[in-house]
Symmetry: C2
Subunit: 331 residues, 2 copies
């Protein structure tokens, strides 16, 4: 199969940079590659695989001859350029929330619901970071015991909110976090509020989880999403009630052989995942696996993963790999 | 009624210092006061209400003539001296976990279960900080709708772990947090692990809540307790399933008039409690009040309070006030 012509859209952002790193690490094969960004960043130099590239401004013509677009430039940019990309026959793998809940757009975690790639119509959506890291451990547990209800409380790092947020934590500034400081603080508010009192971030966990795992509508999920003063890696306390019993021992066995998951769970020697240790790594780490007495057939987990990798860039590249491997990209 | 002779045990610790501050703020009336600590701290000077006091070493004879002991010196010290205190007819208000689950020791949050003070036998226990801040909002909600199940995820500040922990966060050292750094990190491990995979801290929330609210045994509670890089105030994501429906509006109304509780809940203007803002204040702050679709008759809350105040020192002094007011101290 021929190698694709790639465009990386939003290549100068936090996730864009991580995408480049992962393309290099994986030695992703391509015929040509170009780097696109806003007019503000156009003209900048980007080093990639030992070569220098000039960042080009994102314009419809920039997608001429491109087969595969890896985008992390925000919802507005993705929405603006998606028709131009699709019109040219390229496939857009999009990190924004713009298309995730569209019926004709597959929302995919590689290794979880790859079969959904088959019905793409030019756009494949990458889930929100707080959802993404849950899918790899939840999928095999759901297959075994059937998720019935789930309560998720997140502890989300600032890198999920971009460069300005990272700077705020580093320098104690208040540019991204204007109303409340993030330093030595917690902010129970990520993305905007909806009428039901939940934030969009919280409803993403609810709705994206249902779409990716093809859960029945009567599965009940709630989420509290909180920003914490951590640079990288999101952590989540997850409490699940299943249809059928699943012991902590069985869950540990299932998760130990699950794709993309690593179990770190030895209370006796104080071993459990923490965000600092997990940053920069590919797997989703699961620890604190125990019975949850509050829920029928309950299980409690502590799930930590690098939000820039499995939560964004790594899954983008994995989706691209699957698309290329299975001939789902025209070239 | 006569004013008590007070001894403050563990007076040089983080909670001990907060107790002194609150005794001053409230202008707590006493006949005499003395400050006790370990041999290491004995001889130090303590300023209190404009006077200087010399810290005395904790010895049985130090409790001669004392009516009221306010203790925050750790479980071992409380256990060692409790018989000596009780023998002398004094009442011990204890912050440690040593006696909390003893059948003949009332575990009290002032304003929640004051009636339990009546059957004290010389010792009254102050709940663990992560439990304490839940009781003031939970009590009136439980009275209205009946708690059936509850999932709690905590975000606990370092001051709950003492001076060394505060220093670790301030200086990036690893004295209290030896295995994992706390700076820009999260540690899902507070107090030691039990055989069921839960930590003692987590089981304190479960068991102390049941004891204080006199919950039936079939009420189901689970907790994940996590240390976060915040100096002061514990935060908790709380998901409750009730026996009977309670709307967010009704909950807001109940909590708005509840003793010791303040509702901060205006999503439209990004208002909700954060630990930095709550530090140093007396009320338990509740925000993010919303329906929890994951649980029958479910309600989700975000509860933040100063762990040194309502979580420890403030409740200690409030208990002391109640004991004095109701003549439950011999003098």
């Amino acid at each position: 199969m021929s190698k694709p012509n790639i465009a990386v859209l939003g290549s100068t952002g936090v996730v864009g940079q991580e995408i480049l790193k992962i393309l290099e690490e994986k030695d992703f094969r391509f015929n040509s590659i170009k780097f696109l960004a806003s007019a503000r960043s156009a003209g900048n130099e980007i080093g990639f695989k030992g070569k220098k590239y000039i960042v080009e401004e994102t314009k419809p013509e920039a997608f001429d001859g491109v087969n595969l677009v890896l985008a992390s430039a925000g919802g507005a940019t993705s929405k603006a350029f998606a028709p131009e990309i699709v019109k040219r026959g390229a496939v857009l793998v999009d990190n924004s929330s713009a298309f995730r809940m569209e019926r004709d757009v597959p929302l995919v975690i590689a290794g979880v619901n790859d079969e959904d790639l088959k019905w793409h119509k030019g756009i494949v959506a990458n889930p929100n970071c707080s959802t993404s890291q849950l899918m790899l451990p939840l999928k095999p547990l759901h297959d075994y015991a059937g998720i019935k209800r789930m309560v998720v409380s997140t502890y989300q790092s600032v890198s999920g909110a971009g460069k300005e947020a990272i700077d705020d934590l580093e320098h104690g500034t208040r540019n991204k976090f204007v109303k409340y400081p993030i330093n030595f603080n917690l902010i129970p508010h990520i993305d905007s509020f909806l009428e039901n009192g939940y934030t969009k971030e919280e409803m993403k966990v609810v709705n994206e989880t249902k779409k990716i795992l093809h859960l029945p509508e009567d599965v009940k999920i709630s989420c509290t999403a909180v920003r914490v003063p951590v640079y990288t890696s999101h952590s989540e306390a997850v409490n699940i009630g299943f249809e059928r019993p699943v012991t902590p021992e069985k869950a540990r066995e299932i998760l130990s052989s699950a794709y993309g998951v690593e179990v770190v769970d030895n209370p006796e020697s104080s071993e459990y995942p923490t965000p600092v240790e997990v940053a920069g790594k590919d797997p989703v780490y699961v620890g604190r696996i125990r019975k949850d007495p509050a829920l029928e057939n309950g299980l409690a987990l502590w799930v930590v993963a690098d939000n820039l990798r499995i939560g964004a860039a790594l899954n983008t590249v994995r989706i691209a790999e699957k698309l290329v491997e299975t001939g789902l990209i025209k070239s």
